[in-house]
């Protein structure tokens, strides 16, 4: 009986931890979208996230971090947002590669097969953002693209 209680408690805590991590990641991406809009336009029009793939955005964000004097956390959040948009739009040329997870600084192996895997499965595989957040960011990006910001 005692063992069952321990297992149940561990499962409950694990579930809460996963939920919390997912919510934190979601917040990071949302914060990244805000920082992207706020900081890029300090000097120039915001470039489309689809112009570059995930790896290129990592390098370019380092460049922009130095130029705009962004903190490491700010740069990581913007990169997470750019990578999320790319992921949602299937804008990574390679089909299977190690993509750095900018929100944690760790590498995650993500199998990207955008033509075969549905958007929802991709999101679940990453566990980085909710569908609601994705939709709101998608609308934001679509709006900015239409308005040529």
């Amino acid at each position: 009986m005692k063992n069952y209680l321990i297992i149940a408690l561990v499962a409950l805590l694990s579930g809460l931890l996963v939920e919390q991590t997912s919510a934190q990641d979601s917040n990071i991406v949302a914060e990244g979208a805000r920082l992207w809009a706020n900081n890029c336009t300090r000097c120039h029009n915001a470039r489309s996230p689809l112009e570059r793939n995930d790896r290129e955005w990592l390098t370019i964000m380092n460049h922009m971090r130095a130029r705009a004097n962004l903190t490491k956390t700010e740069a990581a959040a913007i990169t997470a947002y750019l990578q999320m948009v790319n992921l949602q739009e299937g804008n990574n040329s390679t089909t299977s590669e190690s993509v750095p997870d900018s929100s944690t600084g760790l590498k995650k192996s993500i199998s990207i097969k955008s033509d075969l895997v549905s958007e929802q499965k991709l999101l679940q595989a990453n566990g980085r953002i909710s569908v609601d957040d994705l939709e709101s960011l998608k609308r934001l990006f679509s709006h900015m693209r239409t308005r040529r910001l």
Binding site: T41, N45, R47, N62, A66, T73, R148
Partner: protein
């Protein structure tokens, strides 16, 4: 001997600075994180003088930027510039720097970098960002538009730089940058090159845009001063500079910048610069303004004096969909030495209309009125890639 000693100390310091992050990032140096990105910008410009002959020219420029990321914390970045100036194709190394980004709020930069003196020179001069085909009178640049006789070039120099950002409350941040670099150098006219048609030629290397002063209006000859001309300093003195700014999200930024250096081999002639830069953006309005003061100490036959000159510009733009009208007023106040006007006052108003094909591809049509000189019609197609 002193110069050699300083060079050794600088070399050891740079090696230490670069060595520490290299060890920290060694794991990712050869891993899948390594990456090279080609970026940059360029332009094609048509310039016409609406006088009786309607003189006109086409010019073009391209500035490739190469980024090499070594793990999360190290970045090498460089920008080359290729442009047309008179009968020549000009090339220059705008920056070649290594950035260490391992700290949360602190950054270190080593190499040749754009000096954070004001904001236009460091961040706003690329042709796809600059909202007009020409530079404000304060700045001169031979590429990507029209070279103007100006107060300062786009400043880049070799040395070390540290940057720090401190959030103040939820919406404000303090942006602090300090640097030490080779500093400006005294230049000499290259009469032979000038006679061959290059009006910007000067001994000691460097491109035309790096010369901050040229012909004098009075008989006193003002020494030419170049920035980032070469990697061998003409004296052991180094330029010290700093910029402190207050940033409020995307809407407001104000920066105070200053530098000091000795520019002659004997190290007794000062060059100091001060700048206030303000950027304001709201409701699709974009307002930018800068004031720059440059004090250049001179050695005259009967002693020393200082040529002090002030320049400023204000620029307002407003987006209407893909269209963006722009107006800019630039003003260089006259410079005096011993009561004589050495540099004449200059004013310029530029009015333009931009059409943004893409967020990084504007077509810019502008009419520039020189209140003391010729007017220009400019059409520029710029692109960032």
């Amino acid at each position: 001997m002193i110069k050699e000693s300083n060079s050794r100390i600088a070399a050891v310091f740079i090696a230490a600075l670069l060595g520490v992050p290299s060890l920290a990032s060694a794991q990712s140096l050869n891993g899948p994180l390594s990456n090279v990105v080609l970026s940059g910008y360029g332009s094609a410009t048509f310039i016409a003088v609406p006088d009786s002959d309607f003189r006109n020219d086409f010019t073009a420029s391209v500035s490739p930027v190469i980024l090499y990321s070594m793990g999360d914390d190290l970045l090498f970045e460089t920008e080359l510039e290729f442009g047309l100036s008179g009968e020549l194709t000009t090339t220059s190394l705008e920056y070649a720097q290594i950035d260490y980004l391992g700290f949360e709020r602190l950054q270190f930069v080593a190499g040749k970098f754009l000096l954070p003196f004001g904001t236009f020179s460091e961040r706003l001069h690329p042709t796809w960002i600059n909202k007009l085909p020409t530079m404000p009178l304060v700045y001169g640049h031979a590429h990507g538009g029209v070279a103007e006789e100006s107060l300062l070039p786009i400043l880049s120099d070799a040395g070390l730089m540290a940057r720090y950002k401190a959030p103040v409350g939820e919406k404000w941040a303090v942006d602090i940058t300090g640097w030490i670099s080779q500093g400006p150098q005294l230049q000499e006219h290259d009469e032979e090159a000038e006679s061959e048609g290059d009006p910007h030629a000067h001994k000691g290397g460097g491109s035309s845009r790096q010369i901050s002063a040229s012909l004098s209006e009075a008989e006193i000859e003002i020494p030419l001063v170049g920035f980032g001309i070469g990697f061998s300093d003409n004296n052991s003195n180094k330029m010290l500079g700093a910029r402190i700014g207050l940033v409020h999200g995307p809407s407001f930024e104000i920066y105070f910048s200053a530098f000091h250096a000795m520019y002659d081999p004997g190290e007794y002639l000062d060059l100091t610069g001060f700048n206030i830069s303000i950027d304001y953006r709201k409701a699709r309005f974009d307002v930018r303004a800068e004031v720059t003061v440059l004090n250049q100490e001179l050695e005259l036959e009967d002693g020393f004096d200082t040529l002090s000159r002030t320049g400023y510009y204000i620029q307002v733009a407003r987006r209407y969909g893909a269209f963006e009208p722009v107006v800019r007023w630039s003003h260089l106040l006259e410079g005096k030495v011993k009561g004589d006007v050495i540099r004449a006052e200059r004013q310029q108003i530029a009015v333009g209309l931009n059409y943004w094909i893409e967020p990084s591809v504007p077509v810019k049509l502008a009419y520039q009125v020189g209140l003391d000189g010729e007017n220009l019609i400019l059409l520029q197609w710029a692109f960032g890639f």
